[in-house]
């Protein structure tokens, strides 16, 4: 097993809401090893994005962040915003959900990629342009030399996401965090972008965190999956183990809601109810009100994330008691 690249330890995030602090992240601990691909899955508002925006100090200054972030074993949480800038892009790169609005509308894409190249590798303008062209080639944008002078609004969403990936690769990062990179794109384009991410990871050996609300998307290109619910990780397992033998009722629910291309036709089961409001979480397990396997203890105490096997963790009092979604259905 390779050394940990980045470790999040008991990360919490609070946002000020009308004079109160509302906790969005309840102590998330996560380890990414060099070169590994982790899927981070959960519904909107589960804290997937906030986790990585907090770890890279991209949250608004008014958010209160606690806990530790270790990069190569060294804490980076105490760094100032400007010191953090040398970590971002160079060590940890990020790409986001809506590629077109994530690019500056008044700068040419070549300029925007070149800016990252110059920043991280100290190239002059001409060399940065040549490198930007090479990066566009690498992300398979046709006639890359001509695209350098295009503006984001002249390109499609899929091409812009390739530009974002090219820009992320400019700093030769050790970790790429892709936050819902395909959510805003057409289904056919989604697959191409996921393939590209997998290819870039193979070529560069960088680690990848793929944030998605869709288990199906992360299944193909990640090694390990962490499932988040209401600001906590509720289950973490190697991707095959998670699909074969989900232990947490929430994970089971997500899988039951996923269409199965290969298997027999069956009715998809939706998880009833909604993600609770972070300002009014239930006192016990946050999933208990929606959980078909919930017992009396679930509504009073919060289950901790415990190892249930050598390489997997689950936060459920009833982990391994059966498959409640099949029982319920």
């Amino acid at each position: 097993m390779t050394a940990p690249l980045i470790e999040l330890k008991d990360l919490t995030v609070d946002f000020p809401v009308g004079g109160n602090w509302v906790r969005a992240l309840h102590g998330v601990s996560l380890t990414i090893r060099r070169g590994e691909a982790l899927g981070l899955v959960g519904e909107s508002g589960s804290g997937k994005s906030v986790t990585w925006l907090a770890a890279t100090k991209l949250l608004p200054a008014k958010a209160r962040i606690d806990g530790k972030v270790l990069l190569d074993g060294k804490p980076i949480q105490g760094l100032t915003r400007d010191q953090m800038a040398s970590v971002r892009g160079k060590r940890v790169a990020l790409i986001f959900q809506d590629p077109t609005s994530s690019l500056n509308p008044v700068h040419r894409v070549g300029t925007q990629i070149g800016e990252a190249v110059r920043l991280h590798r100290g190239f002059d303008a001409a060399a940065a342009r040549a490198e930007a062209k090479r990066l566009l080639d690498r992300v398979h944008i046709p006639s890359a030399a001509r695209r350098l002078d295009d503006y984001p609004h002249e390109l499609s969403g899929g091409t812009n996401q390739r530009v974002m990936i090219a820009m992320a690769l400019a700093g030769e990062p050790d970790l790429l965090v892709a936050d819902e990179p395909t959510t805003a794109l057409d289904v056919t384009i989604q697959a191409q972008i996921l393939d590209l991410l997998a290819e870039m990871r193979r070529e560069t050996g960088m680690a990848l965190v793929l944030i998605s609300h869709d288990l199906g998307i992360v299944a193909d290109i990640t090694d390990r999956v962490a499932v988040m619910y209401a600001g906590r990780i509720v289950e973490e397992a190697p991707v095959d183990a998670l699909f074969d033998d989900p232990r947490h009722p929430y994970t089971q629910g997500l899988l039951a809601a996923l269409p199965d291309v290969a298997g027999p036709r069956r009715r998809l089961t939706a998880i009833p109810g909604q993600v609770p409001n972070p300002a009014a979480l239930p006192p016990g397990c946050a999933f208990a009100p929606r959980c078909p396997a919930a017992i009396a203890g679930c509504v009073t105490a919060i289950p901790s994330l415990d190892a249930v096997a050598a390489d997997r963790r689950t936060a459920c009092f009833r982990a391994g008691d059966g498959t409640p979604w099949e029982i319920a259905a």
Partner: protein, 314 residues
Amino acid sequence: MLGYVASRAFRALVTILLVLTFAFFILNATGDPAILILSADAPPEAIEAFREEWGLNAPLWKQYIGYLWNLAHGELGRSMRDGRDAWAVVSERIPVTLAITIPALIIKLVIGISAGIVAALWRDTWVDRLVMAFSVTGYTVPSFVLGLALMLVFAVQLGWLPAAGADSWRHAILPIITLGVAGAAVLARFTRSAMLEVLGQPFIRTGLAKGLVWRAVVIGHAFPNAAIPTLTIAGFMIGSLVAGAVVVESVFAWPGVGRLLVSAVGNRDLMVVQAILLLVTVTMVSANLIVDIVYGFVDPRLRTARGGQARGGT
């Protein structure tokens, strides 16, 4: 791009013609220049002679055609007061007005834009609240009130500066400050909201995510985008350089174009009023035209909206 400029220029010409037409008919409908200039007690023969001399007996539409015809030949007519060429009367006032409006414009741009940026970057802090308090005061207080207040404090009470007139550069200071403060207040508010809008955009986060420090993101990514809406209001201010000081010139007895306009309207000196309106319309319309063209350079989205097309598959 060329077609765009040509169509904007054509629209500008139509605008100017419309303004001149309105001005001509409204001014002619609101009073008889012969009576106003010679006074109602003047002998009827004198009034008749005056009408004859200025062509006021012809039907209005003939006067209008004649006016346009002369205009097309570069003739703006003569002042009915003293018979001087109307354009000469107006043009000698232009430098006098610019002497206060250009320094005021510099104050507006420098103070207004920087205050707006500072307020946006330190949003919801005491700096922001201070800037906004000044801004609200600056643009809600009418300029004649502000001018009189400044005059009261700095001329009457403290005696540091002359109250009115145009005998020295010191006379220009209070009019310049009066004009500058009001404009800076408007521009500060505009710039602040433009900056806040831009700072909330996803590409600002991308700038930080790629490793730029905050300062570099603000300068390299926020400013060029926030400049686009700010340009509109700045262009409007440039367009009003010639005629934007009517009230302030009156308050401070500054003998510029604005004061000439007030007295020419009062005197029914039609040709002078029309010459001033033409000047004002042309400067305002040209400033708008220039802003439109500059937009095309600053905002690439407008450039392609006019002729280019989206390229590239995925």
